[in-house]
């Protein structure tokens, strides 16, 4: 009897293992391609607007089922994120049509909608350097006085992304950008400016509607995080203000003062020289003066426009 029992269990285990090995990893698309089913779990197509995702893992599928009209599927590629909450599907059909879309696990759908609508308790300002240098804030704290930033104001500004995360941290939605400029902080709301691309660049705008931050507590947190961002351990390279001054001094000396001094010296020398010496000294003087004049003209142009 014992022998039979053992044989029975061996058979059961073998059968289970066989079934596991033979189980097909299968994706089935709905007729209108609005949903897909992967091994019994349903995903829905999303616009993927503002969604920051890490969908780079190859998803290995044994079988892909698409409704009849699209039976002539030529090739496909599927990618997913670490938690398999998002699937990116790229389908290529023999008639040349290409279809690409992102699908979100149904369990996250309502939370994603809430995140898009701003119904989130907190936003995260990511300073990106050093790692995990973030400031968490309630969305309303970011909304300060309404203002408009103009392109000329953007030079040497820093800007950091503002995200909203899902409760378990799986989904990340870009909500805006924090602009640090002239010792003040401005929040640019992506929904307000209708921004949908991946990499926000304030320099691309001539004018940018923003909110000037006024919450003191939040500003203190941001100042601290920003000081960490600027701290390279040496206090030189990343210190914008110091480097700016040093660069200005350097260029003023190199292209302004030094050529002028050379021109003055060679002018005096040329007064006492004759022949080829005189010609050479006058040429040096002319080049030195030309350098100073062009440099001054460019400096004046930059000063007027900044």
């Amino acid at each position: 009897m014992k022998k039979h029992t053992l044989l029975f269990w061996v058979l059961v285990i073998f059968l289970c293992l066989s079934v596991t090995v033979c189980a097909e990893n299968k994706i089935k698309f709905s007729n209108d391609l609005s949903t897909l089913d992967m091994n019994g779990v349903t995903y829905s197509r999303i616009s993927a607007k503002y969604l920051y995702d890490d969908v780079y893992n190859d998803l290995h599928i044994d079988k892909i089922v698409i409704y009849e009209e699209y039976a002539n599927l030529e090739s496909y590629s599927l990618y997913t994120n670490d938690s398999e909450s998002i699937i990116e599907a790229n389908l290529h059909f023999s008639d040349g049509r290409n279809y690409s879309a992102k699908y979100l696990l149904n369990a996250y759908l309502s939370e994603y909608e809430d995140m898009l609508e701003g119904k989130t308790n907190e936003y995260v300002i990511d300073f990106e350097w050093p790692e995990n240098n973030t400031v968490t804030a309630a969305p309303k704290k970011l909304i300060g006085t309404e203002t408009v930033l103009y392109k000329n104001n953007f030079y040497s500004c820093d800007y950091f992304p503002v995200y909203a995360y899902s409760s378990d941290g799986t989904l990340c939605v870009a909500k805006g950008s924090l602009i640090s400029f002239n010792n003040a902080y401005y929040y640019v709301d992506f929904t307000k400016i209708n921004y949908t691309s991946e990499h926000f660049d304030p320099y691309a705008y001539d004018s940018l509607p923003a909110y000037k931050l006024s919450n003191e507590e939040l500003i203190e947190q941001i100042v601290e995080a920003e000081s960490l961002y600027h701290d390279d351990g040496i206090g030189f390279v990343m210190d914008n203000e110091f480097t700016d001054k040093l660069a200005t001094l350097f260029f003023v000396f190199l292209f302004g003062i030094a050529p002028l001094a050379v021109a003055a010296v060679y002018l005096i020398l040329s007064l006492r020289a004759s022949g080829l010496y005189k010609k050479l000294y006058i040429a040096v003087c002319a080049c030195g003066l030309a350098t100073t004049i062009i440099f001054t003209a460019l400096s004046v142009y930059i000063s007027i426009n900044s």
């Binding site: 030079y155 260029f251 190199l254 292209f255 040096v284 080049c287 142009y301």
Partner: protein, 275 residues
């Protein structure tokens, strides 16, 4: 007189240079064929692989030696002509000091230019023979066709100004580097009687390090602030501003070049002591 001096300067160099150029081109062509053999799918004895690898290596070394040799012979001629016993003869010639300097500078410029042409031929011969592929040739053709199209499409007066500025800048840069080496040789030969070459090398090393540091500082501060400055320039002004920056650089390097020339002239005119 300058023409005669130039003729003799070129004559004394060109024979050695021609031999070097011929060897370099031959080695590059041979090296290209060796690379082709090495990358072919045909099965060959190991000895052939070893010989081909060595030949390709020699071709590359030959190219490097040729370019270095071409530069060195010009300065060897300069040194021998002015600062050895030959100098007595050179400076008794009924020619102006400026003609002597100009002749050497023009020779150096011409040799550097033709060496550059041969270097390009070498590289193209080596790569085109070694990696001959219709797709690569087509890609190169397409690149130049697209570049030409881009130039034609965007051609305006500023394009012409930029082109002139680039040519003038290249000319002045090469001239400055030649003058710098000549000046180091002159100073090295004037301040010491023994070990002139050693002093020259040390001088050049010091001056070159100082210039490199200056370049790095310009690059460092420039790259740090370029985006800020360019964000200030309006789209309407960008072309004239760029042309002005080009002029600024040309005026600056022109100033340096003439200072070096006048120093060189003064040293040869007033401070030379061959005794």
């Amino acid at each position: 007189m300058l023409r005669k001096l130039l003729k003799y300067d070129l004559k004394s160099i060109i024979n050695y240079w021609l031999i070097g150029a011929l060897i370099s081109v031959t080695l590059s062509v041979a090296g290209g064929f060796c690379i082709k053999l090495l990358t072919s799918e045909r099965k060959m004895p190991t000895a052939v692989y070893v010989i081909c690898s060595i030949a390709a290596f020699i071709a590359v070394i030959g190219f490097v030696i040729f370019t270095a040799f071409s530069v060195i012979i010009v300065y060897v001629r300069f040194y021998k002509n002015f600062f050895t016993d030959e100098g007595y003869l050179t400076f008794t010639l009924p020619v102006k000091r400026s003609d002597l300097i100009n002749s050497k500078l023009l020779t150096a410029m011409i040799v550097e230019f033709i060496t550059g042409v041969v270097a390009v031929v070498d590289v193209f011969a080596f790569l085109l023979i070694g990696m001959f592929d219709k797709e690569i040739i087509d890609a190169i053709k397409n690149f130049f066709a697209e570049l030409w199209e881009l130039i034609i499409e965007n051609f305006d007066i500023y394009m012409l100004i930029y082109a002139v500025e680039i040519v003038v800048f290249a000319f002045l840069s090469v001239m400055t580097s030649i003058l710098l080496i000549c000046l180091c040789i002159t100073v090295g030969s004037i301040i010491t009687k023994k070990g002139k070459i050693l002093v020259t090398v040390i001088l050049y090393y010091i001056v070159n390090s100082a210039i490199s540091t200056l370049y790095q500082l310009v690059f460092f501060f420039g790259s740090n602030n370029a985006s800020r400055w360019f964000s200030i320039i309006t789209e309407h002004d960008i072309k004239p501003v760029l042309a002005s920056v080009g002029l600024l650089v040309i005026a600056f390097i022109g100033c340096v070049c003439i200072i070096l020339y006048s120093l060189q002239y003064k040293l040869l005119d007033k401070k030379l002591n061959l005794a």
